[in-house]
Symmetry: C3
């Protein structure tokens, strides 16, 4: 599944991921998501208040600043190495149990693609659903 991220930030993908999983006719199992990039990542976060996503993004921007004097890998712009560090501090893959043909996410859990680069780009997320 490919998602076009418009800019840096958290983009919820719970809907399309749930729909895809439901279409497979698996009642009980495990869904794995794997992002094929090192400057974008995956995270499960609260999806009720959009301020949570905004705050998480702002926190990560402060913790891992663009253009840090520490970086030597600067050829792809000031946001590139920061993006790699943010990717390492979050997840390349997620795994979510499936029961009664649905994802067993908690009441306030949503699945997010976390884009760390400032420019729009397509991001590939592999999904594998195993079960009965």
């Amino acid at each position: 599944m490919t998602f076009s991220t418009p800019a840096r930030g958290l983009f919820e993908i719970t809907g399309p991921v749930s729909d895809w999983a439901a279409s497979k006719g698996i009642e009980t199992g495990l869904l794995t998501l794997f992002i094929r990039h090192t400057s974008a990542s995956l995270v499960i976060q609260e999806n009720a208040d959009p301020q949570v996503q905004r705050d998480l993004e702002a926190y990560m921007d402060r913790l891992v600043p663009d253009g840090d004097a520490l970086y030597r890998h600067t050829a792809e712009g000031p946001d590139d190495m920061a993006a790699h560090v943010k990717g390492a501090l979050t997840q390349t893959h997620l795994q979510i149990p499936v029961a009664n043909s649905g994802l067993v996410l908690g009441t306030w859990q949503g699945i997010f693609l976390f884009e760390h680069r400032t420019r729009p780009r397509p991001r590939e997320v592999m999904m594998v659903l195993v079960g009965d």
Copy 2:
């Protein structure tokens, strides 16, 4: 499986998780743990010296302070947004191989539920064991 966390901190759950896995009669496989919350998380850490858990908690409290001026999501208290950030920096799920009907944890590895809120609350951890 539901755990009642008494307060913020790391709580070891290796015992009940191992017992549950052993009761399933699976010799070789994979155990997945998934926490259905975004303000508590899962982590594998050293369980020999309790100071390690204390230090990890103290480090995370300093790295992600309560009531940071950055946060806009403040309605649920000064520890709530900090809890979401700590959750994003640690794990929502873990996976541990099973061999000879036991978890193949290293000598000093323990499974911990990391509570990020200050008040006691029940936390649901889903467990899925797949194998032969």
Copy 3:
């Protein structure tokens, strides 16, 4: 599989891991890697420019300094508690989909063992490949 890490840093293990997975004759499935230690971890990162690995290591060393006054677990040296924190902020396990008998890593993704202790040591990584 056991790897001997020479010192602190990121060591790419994509080659031996891919070879092991290919030798299993599984066409479609999921590979799980699990490290049996709490002061070394696993991460998927860019493997094209070695500066990325150097920058990620330098960033983590600054974020989680050796010998921090906060630490009480100091008996095993100034790098030990820092190593546990870095382990908690990165991954104890990874999971990578397999298709056409190969790992579906993105173009610039490599699998790295991230050693957090300063002295050489052997590190055990369990691998489980499930599929058809």
